[in-house]
């Protein structure tokens, strides 16, 4: 019930930006949004709906680069994934790190391992391989062997 309300309110607030909604169960749902809407979506979830940012998972698939932003509604146990699908050749998306610090490291990590560019990130430096990894080689992409 509560999950339906969260999804419905999200839809209300992001009318033209929601591409697809998939509710798997009362505790798991995936909402696909347009990449340019991610900052507004995250701001709504964090500031107005009171959800906690867990982490983001990047995926390299046939569709291009996908990022699942996992949010948790701790009162009900809901894990809400906000999915954005980015361009194959030039993956970039707005950074969330100016809003909350929790995404700072994971965005740096995704930048480093997948080569996804986060626009307006406060310090998009390397997180784990500073000074010991080649530039422009992204080990978590599918073509990397």
């Amino acid at each position: 019930m509560d999950t339906d309300r969260v999804i419905e309110e999200f839809r209300e607030n992001h009318k033209d930006e929601v591409i697809e909604v998939y509710k798997k169960s009362e505790k798991r749902a995936v909402i696909t949004v347009r990449p340019e809407a991610i900052l507004r979506a995250a701001e709504y979830l964090y500031k107005r709906a009171g959800l906690r940012f867990i982490i983001a998972s990047a995926l390299h698939t046939k569709r291009g680069f996908e990022i699942h932003y996992h949010f948790s509604k701790d009162e009900t146990g809901l894990v809400l994934n906000i999915l954005v699908i980015l361009d194959k050749e030039n993956p970039e998306v707005e950074s969330l790190s100016n809003m909350f610090s929790a995404s700072n490291w994971i965005e740096r990590e995704m930048h480093e391992l997948f080569g996804i560019n986060f626009l307006n990130h406060p310090n998009q430096e390397k997180l784990i391989s500073d000074g010991n990894w080649a530039e422009g080689v992204y080990p978590y992409r599918k073509e990397f062997k």
């Binding site: 982490i55 699942h68 146990g77 610090s101 929790a102 390397k126 997180l127």
Partner: protein, 402 residues
């Protein structure tokens, strides 16, 4: 800005299971800024996982952390079982929770010991680690290993806990409870520990929300999040227990939360043992033949907070993508809040307070003057500085009492 001294803690030091480097920028005694460098031990486990079968991944993720080695298989099992959509047997649920809670007790005891060591209280260190031993012995009896228990699989657990072992577990737990009383009394009533930890390394509620901190780090700042209650799994919805919180957000509050949590863990295990007696021996597995295509988000409350595993299955026998987020990933970042403004002597305990996976590595910390490059202080002196502050306080308290 005046002249600042850089104090590196690391890259090899006992605060983390992996080598990591904290750069403390200090103005005199006061820490003004902190920077973090890591990646010394990046093993690419997420990528490795894509080349393993689901059965093998359990052994892989168990090796992410040596202390909370069951929390990762726990979260992974929850994620895969969500994709499959299978319900495990009650007995398997009880066994999973028993393993999870035993691990919490031994991990919290380990933390109390190390926190004591950092404050110069080596007696607490030795006591806590001595009392941790019987728990590890229990693990050996139940699983065959003192660490890395290899108990989990998709659809249940690998080994049953036979009913004839329940009595031994109860006896050991009763003993551990007594020792926990002793330790809690010693830590909570000690005026010197109060002086060293109260008001030190404070994280406010807003900091916790900003950094999305989890586990005891969040609960000590009054944010009552606990996956065992919020998104119940295994046997946690079948037993009675409460989430421990504190309000102050300082090091003392974090210690308090952990110590009191141990009582909850003991109570959970006792209830699970009663549950075991009611179920049939050997019924610990359901057969899972295939992992269908889909997403699964698995969560488990490790001793340090929420472990999150996101598994994408393409219907083959290994994950197409496996994202892992350990609790320290979000908790360590809060150092930027808790350490800045503290003295160097308090920085060690502030860093230790979030219980970043301590482990095997050796400490190599040398303080040097950024301009001249001259060495000022080494690792031992840094610890001595912290221990020295405690003994000074002790003396002044003794004098006041005379």
């Amino acid at each position: 800005m005046g002249k600042q001294t850089l104090i590196p803690i690391g890259p090899y030091h006992p605060l983390q299971e992996e080598p990591e480097l904290f750069k403390l920028f200090c103005d005199g005694e006061i820490v003004k800024d902190i920077k973090w460098e890591t990646g010394y031990n990046h093993r690419g486990i997420e990528k490795l996982s894509e080349a393993k079968t689901y059965e093998q991944v359990f052994f892989l993720v168990e090796r992410i952390c040596g202390i909370c080695s069951t929390s990762h298989p726990f979260a992974f099992a929850n994620a895969v079982e969500e994709i499959v959509g299978c319900e495990i047997t009650d007995r398997a649920k009880y066994i999973r929770s028993i393993i999870g809670e035993l691990e919490r007790i031994h991990s919290h005891l380990l933390w109390v010991g190390l926190a004591g060591h950092f404050l110069g209280y080596n007696t607490v260190f030795m006591w806590a680690w001595k009392y941790r031993e019987p728990i590890l012995d229990l693990f050996e009896m139940i699983t065959g290993n003192r660490n890395s228990y290899a108990m989990f699989r998709v659809g249940g657990v690998r080994r049953d806990i036979e009913n004839n072992k329940i009595h031994t577990i109860r006896t050991v737990l009763a003993e551990v409870k007594k020792k926990t009383d002793l330790l809690t009394g010693a830590v909570m009533d000690d005026p010197v520990i109060h002086a060293r930890t109260k008001g030190v390394g404070i994280l406010t509620k807003q900091d916790v929300l900003d950094y999305a901190a989890v586990g005891p780090t969040a609960r000590a700042s009054g944010v009552a999040i606990d996956i065992r209650k919020d998104d119940p799994y295994a046997a946690y919805p079948l037993v009675n227990w409460k989430v421990i919180t504190a309000e102050a957000g300082d090091v003392f509050a974090k210690a308090e939360v952990r110590l009191l949590e141990m009582y909850e863990s003991i109570s959970i295990i006792e209830q699970c043992l009663t549950g075991l007696e009611k179920t049939k021996e050997g019924e610990v597995n359901v057969v899972v033949k295939e992992i269908p295509e889909g997403y699964g988000a698995g969560r488990a409350e490790a001793p340090r907070g929420e472990v999150f595993h996101f598994v994408v299955s393409d219907g083959s026998n290994s994950p197409a993508r496996h994202k892992i987020r350990a609790p320290s990933y979000v908790n360590i970042a809060t150092f930027k809040k808790s350490c800045v403004g503290q003295t160097i002597a308090d920085a060690t305990i502030s860093l230790a307070a979030v219980d970043p996976c301590y482990c095997c590595t050796e400490r190599l910390a040398v303080a040097y003057d950024q301009r001249s490059g001259r060495k000022i202080m080494n690792a031992k002196e840094l610890i001595d500085l912290s221990a020295g502050k405690t003994s000074e306080l002790k003396k002044s308290l003794m004098k006041r009492n005379e």
